[in-house]
């Protein structure tokens, strides 16, 4: 969290249909579970799947009144590395801030790609093969839930227990116990990755 701010701000870059909105909403529910104040909202372009989307998340110990999009994030999450070609994902990210990205690329490869595209991000990059983890544990590509584990590990702003509890509350009935457990296992695996 920036020194001058009392709100932790996140931007999720994804493509329509990849479930970034769900990711942000689970985090919002988990934040509420911890009695924090939250705000999560999408900035859809045209509503079609595959188009680049941005989703915003704010978490604070105080009431959040602003409704402007997040312009100066503390953390950026990228759910699809092909977005590096078209989106300025590291915009306004400072050197003490973080970028989490779902990719098979190594950290230096992501950084090179950002530099190629004119980005000058000096902060820490956390690549994670969330799609791969999801396929091997859940059997389906669900990087949007897996990445929750990495979010908790990197940000430290939400507790893992809250994520798991809220995930279970929202999805156990919908997914069935077995499938829900697998999702949670994948989230935990992402939390444990270096």
């Amino acid at each position: 969290m920036k020194n001058h701010k009392d709100i932790f701000e996140v931007i999720f870059f994804a493509r329509g249909g990849q479930g970034a909105k769900t990711t942000a909403e689970i985090l919002a529910q988990a934040g509420t579970h911890e009695d924090k104040f939250v705000q999560a909202f999408p900035s859809f372009g045209p509503e079609r799947s595959g188009a680049p989307t941005k989703t915003y998340l704010r978490i604070s110990d105080h009431e959040i009144r602003t409704h402007e999009p997040v312009v100066d994030p503390d953390l950026v999450v990228v759910l699809d590395d092909t977005l590096l070609d078209s989106q300025e994902v590291a915009f306004n990210l400072d050197k003490d801030e973080f970028l989490i990205i779902n990719t098979k690329m190594a950290e230096h490869e992501v950084r090179e790609k950002l530099i190629q595209k004119g980005g000058k991000f000096e902060g820490k990059i956390h690549p994670i093969d969330a799609s791969g983890i999801s396929l091997s544990i859940i059997g389906q590509p669900r990087p949007n839930t897996v990445i929750l584990g990495k979010f908790v590990q990197v940000s430290g702003i939400i507790k893992m227990e809250s994520i798991i509890e809220e995930f279970r509350r929202i999805f156990e009935k919908k997914l069935g116990k077995e499938n829900c457990d697998k999702n949670i296992q994948a989230i935990e695996k992402a939390y444990d990755t270096i």
């Binding site: 942000a24 909403e25 919002a28 529910q29 934040g31 509420t32 009695d35 104040f37 939250v38 705000q39 999560a40 909202f41 999408p42 900035s43 859809f44 045209p46 509503e47 009431e63 959040i64 009144r65 602003t66 409704h67 402007e68 999009p69 312009v71």
Partner: protein, 387 residues
């Protein structure tokens, strides 16, 4: 936190649906359109899970949705629906029937731009298009207000026998997850009370006619009655909102004064007052806090009740300002924007001549940033558009 209140994280649309569930609707005719989606989707979920006994009528257009609402409400049912944009425009013809029949129909509007060009995002063009249709119109800033004003609004509509639109910003509010506290269902139901329809069609012991012809000798009087009922809604709103404060701890005046009187001393009174509504009011409050910190005397008048428009009270609130800045999220093509027109009328009627600036922002979902609001306060934006 009040022990009775439960803190949740919900979209504005889901907050509206939650309030409607607690109010206990009899009938909800629906036709889908973005971005009111979150409202009827959530309510349909309640219906599917057996949490409500409401009869949801799936119709083939918004014109039919409003027509079905008029039928249900005249039959004596507590009725609500929801819409946006072209959907509201398509209802236009029948909106006047609902208000002319004096039916307390609740309509949640997730306000959105009008085509053409096609745009699914938020602005206030749709609700401004029916500001003369005889409906009460009540604007909300966030999900908490949507929840609270749906409850207040239902009671108000039934009290003054007029239909009501409770308005949230499309996407900005309808699709934004925010924290809110909800009341216990029992408390809400006691507050709103049983719906007792006046002269319902299904009261066959006392047959009545709805929609009769009224010609030169009586039509005029019907219209005057409607105007009187609407004027009366201002006072009734105040009473109901006061009672609501008792059960919720949340205060909703006809409009909100934010840091206009910043302390007991008149020296701290705002010299520049920004008038606006909806989700942008929250953003503007943060800017006002920042500017107040560096000693600038600024404040906000946030519009809540827009129909009836509280001219006298607004003029009273603005009378000490040196400069008034009015932000509209709609145009009135060919004349001044809606809020600006109302504010100038209020001040003229009160014989207050002021320096008033008019800006239009946020059309078709264009974002508005704190930086732009700061620039407006600093008089750095020319041409009347905050683009």
């Amino acid at each position: 936190m009040n022990k009775k209140n439960k803190k949740l994280a919900l979209t504005g649309g889901a907050a509206a649906a939650e309030a409607l569930k607690q109010i206990d609707l009899d009938v909800m005719p629906i036709y889908p359109i973005t971005p009111q989606t979150t409202i009827i989707e959530t309510y349909a979920g309640f219906e599917a899970n057996g949490e409500v006994e409401t009869e949801m009528i799936k119709v083939e257009s918004e014109h039919s949705a409003m027509s079905a609402a008029i039928g249900a409400s005249s039959a004596g049912a507590r009725t609500a629906t929801a819409t946006s944009s072209q959907g509201l425009a398509l209802m236009h013809e029948v909106l006047y029937i609902a208000s002319g029949f004096r039916l307390p129909i609740m309509m949640l509007v997730s306000a959105r731009a009008l085509a053409s060009p096609i745009n699914i995002h938020g602005d206030h063009s749709d609700v401004m298009g029916c500001r003369d249709s005889g409906w009460i119109q009540l604007f909300c800033e966030n999900g908490q207000e949507v929840y609270d004003k749906t409850i207040i609004g239902m009671k108000l509509a039934e009290k003054v026998k007029l239909p009501i639109m409770v308005i949230m910003d499309g996407f900005n509010t309808s699709h934004s997850v925010e924290n809110l506290e909800i009341l216990e269902t029992k408390v809400v139901q006691e507050f709103v009370g049983e719906f007792e329809a006046v002269s319902p069609l299904l009261d066959t012991e006392n047959p009545v006619t709805y929609g009769a012809v009224a010609l030169q000798n009586s039509y005029f009087e019907f219209r005057i009655d409607q105007e009187e009922a609407m004027k009366n809604a201002e006072e009734e709103y105040e009473k109901i909102a006061k009672d609501f404060e008792k059960i919720s701890g949340r205060k909703y005046d006809i409009f909100e004064e934010y840091r206009i009187e910043d302390s007991a001393s008149s020296a701290d009174r705002a010299e520049k007052i920004m008038v606006l509504t909806g989700s942008a009011a929250g953003t503007a409050k943060v800017v006002v806090d920042k500017l107040r910190e560096v000693g600038e005397k600024v404040g906000i008048l946030k519009i809540g009740l827009f129909r009836p428009f509280p001219h006298k009270k607004i003029a009273e609130s603005l009378k000490n300002a040196k400069e008034i800045i009015v932000l509209d999220r709609a145009q009135s093509i060919g004349t001044f924007p809606p809020f600006y027109s109302e504010i100038t009328k209020s001040l003229y009627e009160a014989k207050e001549i002021k320096n008033i600036k008019s800006y239009v922002y946020g059309l078709g979902g264009r974002d508005i940033f704190q930086k732009q609001i700061e620039d407006v306060f600093a008089d750095k934006i020319e041409g009347g558009y905050i683009k």
